[in-house]
Amino acid sequence: MSENSLGQPIPHDEEAVVIVGSGAGGGTLAYELTAKGIPCVVLEAGPYLKPEDYENDEWAAFNQMAWLDNRTASGSFRVARDFPNLPAWIVKAVGGSTTHWSGATPRFRAYEFQTRTYYGEIEGANLLDWPITLDDLAPYYDRAEIAIGSTHRHGRPALPANNNYKVFANGAEKIGYRFYATGPYGTNAEPYDGRPASVQDGFNFQGDKSTAKWSTAVREIPRALETGKLDLRPESQAVQVTHDAQGRANAVLYLDKDGNLHRQAARIVCVAGNSIESPRLLLMSASALHPDGLANSSGQLGRNYMRHTTGSVYARFDRPVRMYRGETMAGIVADEARQDTSRGFAGGYYMETLSLGPAFLAAFVDPGSWGPGYTEVLDAYENTAGLWIVGEDMPQETNRVTLNTALKDQWGLPAPDVHFDDHPNDVAMREHGYSRADLMYEAVGAVGTHHTPPYPATHNLGTCRMSARPEDGVVDKWGQAHDVPGLFVSDGSVMTTGAAANPTLTIVALAIRQAERIADQLGKGEL
């Protein structure tokens, strides 16, 4: 038997809740459902890495956990040129990208659920109001913050100021910003929920060995296993979601680590593979009934791919900063996270502290660059402070995930292609962010700043968008496919628009809400 299975075995012919993916969406859903006594099979493409397996080394950790299966990037964004096989930097392991997330947990703002109403018609942007509001999600945001243990929320104390934050917050204050703090942030400042306080070791993107940082790999998955209702199958690559003659989702076909094909019967299927793999799986599940991909009668499947408008600024000082010491992203400025088109763009953005080690800074600070201008940035490493700009990007129909039939993955399946062009609104927002970051750092004595272009995307959103009407999107307000009974999408793919905030908290809140709905419907026999 080459199948890798942990927890309570569920027979392949038993119609279970089958969840594809174990990250913020899938891991949360698995815990919430199994805690209510509902048996779940979780198919996770990656291995079950434990905190003791994580490495305090950027490239070693990257090679250990990043999703490195064949992918292509196309379009005019710079990533397509610099990293043509790495459009996104996400994790392939139990816990998904919560393994390497940094931890910032702002909520979406009310207007961000109604961008078509607030932003109006923007040329080239496929704006649409969400079918839910902030009020609908607020109780689930509370539960998500309590699950994650967000600092500054529900009695959780703030993290202390580290060196990078001291520069960041002093600069913010000097230029008149007010809405800055060391959080909300998903890492314990004091012991909480059975996990310790941060030791400020500076490693987040590599997995947190201390477990002070929340991830589904250290909270939801182990707890779901303890319920005796979870069958966790790592190293299991989903290949197709199938449906019965009536069009109802009824099974998932998947490969084990040795490439053997299996069929897991399903009462319902919840797809949570991140916004590249989820639409890829549904596109690969085309059938006679769904010739353009499963749940794609709208034609929106794979479209409206969003990656947030991002950029980084690294500022050099004449005194030491040592930005790498301490929690990577425990510093947030929210003053620009608002709708004010007098700035020259719609939507808002956050600025958040960010640090890379020399290995990653060298690779990402200005890809392809060399010579004295480049080495000057690295020579200043010890005296450097860094921040990340993260804001709402415009959904565009032509930014999309498709199947690249010319390139196969290691299983012979078509690789996904991620096509992306910046919208002019994205460019204007990024430039505004760069200029504000320069002002912040210059206000506290920066001798130079460097503008770093967007990295391979860590925030991948929107390819199975939620819509009130079936013709506008892929899933309804609960994340259930408009076209396919019994098929749910349970990750950031469902986001109608992307808002400015880091998405993990919202993915968790949506998954908790969806789990409540699924349990209720299963209980009533309506699913």
Binding site: E55, N56, W59, R109, A110, Y111, Y118, G120, H152, A158, P160, A161, N162, N163, K166, V167, A169, N170, R178, F179, Y180, A181, T182, G183, S198, V199, Q200, D201, G202, F203, S210, P320, V321, R322, Y324, R325, G326, A334, D335, A337, R338, Q339, D340, T341, S342, G357, P358, A359, L361, A362, A363, G368, W370, G371, P372, T375, L378, D379, Y381, E382
Partner: protein
């Protein structure tokens, strides 16, 4: 074959010189550059194409330098590299160099980076907050009189203006 073929040792020396010109760090000794050169030579062996491109490229550099690229001063070496910036062998060299030269523990130390920290208890008691040239900032969220205006008055949708915040 030329009568006096360039030796592998000569090529390695040229490569080290090239790396120092392309990635000039006055503080770095030869060690990190030599290890990077060895990694480039080793990876070039993986495909015949890279092996040929590297050998031909380094030989061509020598020719353009009027004999030996390794003998050029910094300014002349940099100028020559700028001329051949898009040459395939140089793109290959840079691709390996950025993930090798800066993934070297000696380099980290020279740049002031301390590497793995969890095994040492993190930086909680080792200076995560030792920056002393700026005041200690507030860490809590702002609770003063100013309000963050989520939507500017001019951006209120006409139909709903008045009943939104």
């Amino acid at each position: 074959m030329p009568d006096n073929p360039t030796t592998d040792a000569d090529r390695r020396a040229s490569l080290v010189r090239l790396l120092r010109a392309a990635y000039p760090h006055p503080k770095f000794p030869d060690g990190p550059y030599e290890r990077t050169a060895d990694e480039i030579l080793s990876q070039s062996q993986a495909t015949l194409w890279h092996q040929l491109a590297l050998t031909n490229g380094l030989d061509a550099l020598d020719a353009r330098a009027g004999g030996s690229f390794a003998d050029l001063d910094d300014e002349a070496a940099l100028a020559l590299l700028k001329e051949i910036e898009d040459a395939e062998f140089f793109v290959f060299i840079r691709g390996v160099a950025v993930v090798t030269l800066y993934n070297d523990h000696e380099t980290w130390e020279l740049l002031g980076y301390e590497g793995p920290s969890f095994d040492k208890g993190g930086y909680l008691h080792r200076g995560f907050d030792d920056l002393d040239w700026l005041p200690s900032p507030r860490i809590e969220e702002y609770d003063g009189p100013e309000q963050l205006v989520e939507v500017a008055p001019d951006d209120m949708p006409a139909a709903t203006a008045g009943d939104q915040r």
